[in-house]
Amino acid sequence: MTHNNAAPIAHVRNFCIIAHIDHGKSTLSDRLLELTRTIGERDMAEQVLDRMDLEREKGITIKAKAVRMLHDHADGQQYELNLIDTPGHVDFSYEVSHALSACEGAVLVVDAAQGIEAQTLANLYLALEHDLDIIPVINKIDLPAARPDEVAHEIEDLLGVPADEVLRVSAKEGLGAQELLKAIVERIRPPMGDDSRPLRALVFDSHYDSYKGVIAYVRVMDGIIEAESLLLTMSNRRRIEPMEVGVFGPQMRPVAQLGAGDVGYVATGLKNVRDCRVGDTITGATQPVAEPLPGFAPPKPMVYAGLYPVDNADYTDLRDALEKLQLNDASLVFQPESSTALNMGFRCGFLGLLHMEIVQERLEREHELELLATAPSVEYQVLLTNGEVIIVDNPSELPNLSQVEEIHEPWMHISLFSPSEYIGPLMELTTGRRGEFEKLEYLDERRVVLEFYIPLAEILVDFHDQLKSRTRGYASMDYAFDGHRPGDLVKMDILVNEEPVDALSLIVHRDSAYDKGSLLVRRLKEVIPSQLFAVPIQAAIGSKVIARTNVKATRKDVLAKCYGGDVTRKRKLLERQKEGRRRLKRVGKVDLPQEAFMAVLRLND
């Protein structure tokens, strides 16, 4: 069997699956892979497309992947179906956008019990912007709580697709998956494009391979890519001599060529991901096109935090690790930063808190670094009295209040989807965090969308958990950046052992400064292990201390007798203790645990 243009362009379908998180995208992808025998059942670990350990643990799909399936359709023809898996979490919605640009169609998965949720809509709107053919699918019809008829009507209202044309499947049990394959062939249009035209291929994702360099995931719009082709990136005119051209099956599998309409990869051999960015257009070096395809706006970080090695000696390792990670994650930005408390580290920008958590975990796990992260911050625009405007994404860098005219902070527009009985708690949650109510709409008799404007800083920490806990898990949220607005904000400094710890500074609204200060010093007292001396902890605004407490000195830390000469046990105990202390960061004379820098995250409990 040959894989080169196994199918003429009329027999190619490029599609993605979009859904709210946990509605079953990954499971459904697995079923399609099985049915098309892209993967033998025995090789089938659950959710094959979630490659990274982390993804499996967190049960989410982080990076989009592409895989080619061959499907024998009822018309006796074989079709090439290219499935592009997409992330569901709002932190990663830019990646959804990349994936959509490579497709003509989208399978919209909706959980039969949950119904339409925030990211269902957000992703659907994205898909409609990209003018995709939409196949709505109700999943998890096997669940006792499934209410497929109601959900079908919600979908009908939303999309105008008659309720009885909405497919009903159980990805878990494989029900209806065959019908879905049929619908993909019949309801999604084949790609347009022409093998004989000059090459234009869109880079919609990439990953880094230490042997083959940057692997660009491409969708060929026109023309042909062969391993022998000389290629060119259009944004920065980098020449590429591909080491390999192939498709994902789902493992990387070389093919002789990719033609118009195909999805696959080019192993570029490039060592720097910046030389072949997601969103770029690849063309032929000998016969380049004049105009690139519409690219992507690079995703803008929303959340900033400092990452520091626990051991200062690991600084260059951390830099190398961040660079490596950036090869696979173009949305990660970082620049060197130094802190009097923590020494040398990096200020990193993330798409959201989940993204931050994932980056930190990957650095620690895959690169065996011990890291300390400072509390996340948003990006403030600070108007100085001299008329200058500076950007501050690290609270410790906020200039003295006497030089500050006004501080502007980012505001978000958020949509909360929820059963109507939780309107009260949701109003309370949002207005308690400076949210401004905009409007309320009923989706049906029981479900509403509440829309608010709210400072990003207020939803950064713990908002999502609160949202879930106040609505027994029923509410979901979507958010988008709205703009900067001035606020009555002040910098709160934390002094440990009489010395300000820059990495603990935070910017808060003046009205909540006192409460947050007292709570923060209490939290710090809980997490800072007692030292060989008493350690005062204070919160201050300018020179005014607004809260204080004390961590008592350790007086006793010694092993009892050595029962029956068990020296080994003693040694192990000491080793464990020592290991524990190695994870502390010495700041001045005080050893601080990571939790101290994260104490700010728990100010709303």
Binding site: K556, A560, G565, L574
Partner: protein, 391 residues
């Protein structure tokens, strides 16, 4: 010849105390005879493989060794003399718990050759004893001590515990005063430690008993240091005091120090026999299995009773010499370290010494290094520095 000690473990108790996670079992009376026989066999077998060790101390610990008959305990010490060459005048300690001894049994033990008695008094307050699950009361403890003196034991050690649930400082002081009035030659004072999977740990987890208060325990420790020093006791180890004798030399442990335990703290070899017992032959550390029935079976079948055995590298031996030796008031001397390892202590532990400089935890002078007074209660902070990575 290298000198070392003999440790024999008797894993039986009448009842298990709430804090005990040590290898001891109540209700195995039927096994006593067979267990002693197995020990005797192992003592004899160890005699033929002594690897150039001479033994100059014996410690029979438990559990409660005195749940055995005096004849059984006599047979044990006799076997050590015969097979392991334990000299007549060697320190031979047996642990005894009030409630399991009588004047007659004590006389028999002295007669058999035990010359040091370590009595598990723990507290001299009835409620505390009851709470700990001890089988004796204060009167029983006092009677045991009087009896030991009466039959002629001239080297008595008392174990006491502090930091007990609901124990106020004043009550600890009262226990100490009463204990001092008995003029024992030796005192071991241990802070109650919460070991996992003990009834005590469960009670604390359930909130039925208060968690230990480290600050209060520290006050109790400091109080004991003052009181014992004022009464003529020298603290020669973190938890151990001996009554001063006229011939005591500065820089040397007092004559009444427990010679057997000094082997541990000096990181010298000791033969360990019996369930759960640990041993160190100078090259390897080993431990025996903990199940008494299985132990008896294996000895009878001629099988090994070891549960683990670990070769100790030279680096490890150095670290262990430090973490054990620093428990002693005299610490580790440069001389001793150099003689044993052929290198300078200061060179091997330059990093640790630098880290500890100015902490007030360690004293360094021309002879060697030792805990500073402030370091006694913070020993772990000091010891940990002497555990080199990877050793």
């Amino acid at each position: 010849m290298t000198r070392g000690g003999i440790y024999l473990h008797i894993p039986f108790c009448e009842a298990k105390c709430i804090y005990c996670d040590f290898c001891s079992y109540a209700g195995l009376e039927a096994l006593h005879g067979a267990y002693v026989d197995a020990l005797l066999v192992q003592i004899r077998q160890s005699g033929s493989s002594r690897h150039g060790l001479t033994f100059d101390t014996l410690f029979v610990g438990g559990g409660t060794p005195t749940v055995l008959t005096s004849e059984q305990l006599a047979a044990i010490v006799a076997a050590c003399r015969t097979w392991l060459g334990l000299p007549e005048d060697a320190e031979a300690t047996v642990e005894a718990n009030p409630g399991t001894i009588t004047q007659a049994s004590l006389a028999a033990l002295l007669q058999a050759g035990y010359n040091r008695l370590s009595i598990g008094v723990q507290s001299l307050h009835d409620q505390e004893l009851a709470l700990l699950g001890r089988i004796h009361d204060v009167r029983g403890a006092l009677e045991a001590i009087t009896a030991a003196r009466a039959v002629g034991f001239s080297n008595l050690s008392l174990d006491l515990m502090y930091g007990l649930p609901h124990q106020p400082l004043a009550r600890w002081q009262a226990t100490l005063e009463r204990a001092l009035a008995l003029a024992p030659e030796h005192l071991s004072l241990y802070a109650l430690t919460i070991e996992e999977r003990t009834p005590l740990a469960r009670s604390i987890a359930l909130g039925a008993l208060p968690a230990p208060d480290d600050d209060l325990a520290a006050d109790m420790y400091e109080l004991a240091q003052e009181m014992l020093s004022a009464c003529g006791y020298a603290q020669y180890e973190i938890s151990n005091w001996a009554r001063r004798s006229p011939g005591d030399q500065p820089g040397q442990p007092p004559a009444r120090a427990c010679q057997h335990n000094l082997h541990y703290w000096r990181n010298e070899p000791y033969l360990g026999l019996g369930v759960g017992a640990h041993g160190y032959d100078g090259q390897r550390r080993y431990a025996h299995i903990v199940d008494p029935e299985e132990y008896v079976r294996r000895v009878a079948a001629g099988e090994s009773t070891l549960a683990s055995s670990e070769a100790i590298s030279r680096d490890q031996a150095m670290d262990e010499t430090m973490i054990m030796g620093l428990r002693l008031a005299n610490g580790v001397t440069r001389d001793r370290f150099r003689r044993r390892f052929g290198v300078e202590l200061d060179a091997v532990y330059a990093e640790a010494l630098a880290a500890l400089a100015n902490t007030g935890l360690l004293e360094v002078d021309a002879t060697g290094i030792r805990l500073a007074p402030r370091g006694y209660l913070l020993g772990n902070r000091v010891f940990a520095e002497f555990m080199r990575a990877g050793s």
